[in-house]
Amino acid sequence: MFRNQYDTDVTTWSPTGRLFQVEYAMEAVKQGSAAIGLRSRSHVVLACVNKAQSELSSHQKKIFKVDDHIGVAIAGLTADGRVLSRYMRSEAINHSFTYESPLPVGRLVVHLADKAQVCTQRSWKRPYGVGLLVGGLDESGAHLYYNCPSGNYFEYQAFAIGSRSQAAKTYLERRFESFGDSSREDLIKDAILAVRETLQGETLKSSLCTVSVLGVGEPFHFLDQETIQKVIDTFEKVPEDEAGEAGEAGEGEAEAAAAAAPAEQGGGGAGDQDVAPMEM
């Protein structure tokens, strides 16, 4: 969209009935690095790509724990996301305090949406520039919602937001029908595969992605690097220490290495420890 005379104020309508500032806020979401969410009947997995500003800095935190049964992944202005996470946490704590029961996810997203809407109708405010993928478990099952800066929210079986999220969405569209009955492990694998789609060619390493899981009998928690690496190894032909060596010759070697690895693992951990110190 191009600049026009109706886009200065969030409280100014365009003649075609659009609020441009709100739409520009949605653009901010597309600038952030990818965040992916998927759910089965009993679990929700949130994954995101860790992109650091420079080689010297650490990557930004994009997935937050809201409560034992709710997590949120953000894309866009991370500062706005952090503030909204704090709001969600306090909502969850207050609900828990008053009703002695966990906050239903559907209620939380409505609160969030109403909060976002306020910013679209005040001349002294601006819309939040962050998209939130809220995943949670309550009495009615596992849920995944997407909250827009516009104040809209939608429920999804699987979704991806942020830059190059279309690739992940295409992958998820092919597979989403099976997610409902997926096991926890398959769901995690699909999430990491979706993250790989957004990287578009870049080798997938466990240091590049953050994955979190929550589900029935499993409070929200992050998966550690080793667990993620193990899942990556199940589908990545190239082992971690040979990363970057693409090509036919490399592939032949890699296949032999992949065949040898299970044999090594069967024989005991000693050999493994020399090859990949992260493997336990």
Binding site: K65, R86, R89, S90, I93, N94, S96, F97
Partner: protein
């Protein structure tokens, strides 16, 4: 013209006693399970102990249980906020300070709660913090609060008090007792307190905190002055039921329920 006093009080005392003893690598927190009001019993099985889940910190409070419940909920919420902000659980000394601040926050309409906080500090040594109703607290080696505290505290002093603090070097506030000895002491102390304090009795709940986890023990305490009276009544009821006399049984059951709740000092 004498001053008019309120004919209604927002507070009530539900009785009960709480004790905690700190050891070199353990902490024992105990409380009875009787909840009373006036001369009546409200419950024989009400827990006064709250696990803060804060890296081994356990709070035991006697006094007005509604305020105790509210205090426990506030602490729980505040602990959650801490965890979100610091990405770790609160240590016992941190929880001790938080409790003190929370109590003082209501300095002019206090929580009627007499607290003992027990746990392991950052070095793994046992620590006990004792409070008054408005948050004044102190780290000690052992403490008792509640209706039986005046009976128990002198005895604990006799058994556990380190020699005068005037003796240099200053003695540690940790008891030299081993964990089984401390648990035994607690059981002894409660058995004695139950004999003379009408608000203490029924069951004793003991939580033993160690680095590897928390263990709970429950011990029966005296329910009434004459325990056998209750026992006799239950036998009589069984005999009657076998005769098949249902309405008489009902009456007896009702009576025994009343007996259970009534003036336990007279039975």
């Amino acid at each position: 013209m004498t001053k008019q006093h309120a004919n209604w009080s927002p507070y009530d005392n539900n009785g009960g006693t709480c004790v905690a003893i700190a050891g070199s690598d353990y902490c024992v927190i105990a409380a009875d399970t009787r909840m009373s009001t006036g001369y009546s019993i409200l419950s024989r099985d009400y827990s006064k102990i709250h696990n803060c889940k804060a890296d081994k910190a356990v709070l035991s409070s006697s006094g007005f249980q509604a305020d105790v419940k509210a205090l426990q909920k506030v602490l729980k919420s505040r602990h959650l906020v801490y965890q979100h902000q610091h990405n770790k659980q609160m240590s016992c000394p941190a929880m001790a300070q938080l409790l003190s601040n929370t109590l003082y926050f209501k300095r002019f309409f206090p929580y009627y709660a007499f607290n003992v906080l027990g746990g392991l500090d950052e070095e793994g040594k046992g620590c006990v913090f004792t409070y008054d109703a408005v948050g004044s607290y102190e780290k000690v080696g052992y403490s008792a609060q509640g209706s039986g505290s005046t009976l128990i505290m002198p005895f604990l002093d006799n058994q556990l008090k380190s020699p005068s603090p005037l003796l240099l070097p200053a003695q540690d506030a940790i008891t030299p007792l081993s964990e089984p000895e401390a648990v035994d002491l607690v059981k002894t102390v409660f058995a004695s307190a139950t004999e003379r304090d009408i608000y203490t009795g029924d069951k004793l709940e003991i939580m033993i905190l160690k680095a590897d986890g928390i263990r709970t023990e429950v011990m029966e305490l005296r329910k009434t002055l004459s325990e056998c009276w209750q026992h006799t009544l239950s036998i009589v009821l069984i005999r009657i039921s076998t005769l098949g006399s249902l309405c008489y049984l009902e009456l007896c059951l009702k009576f025994s329920c009343v007996v259970n709740r009534f003036s336990f000092s007279y039975l």
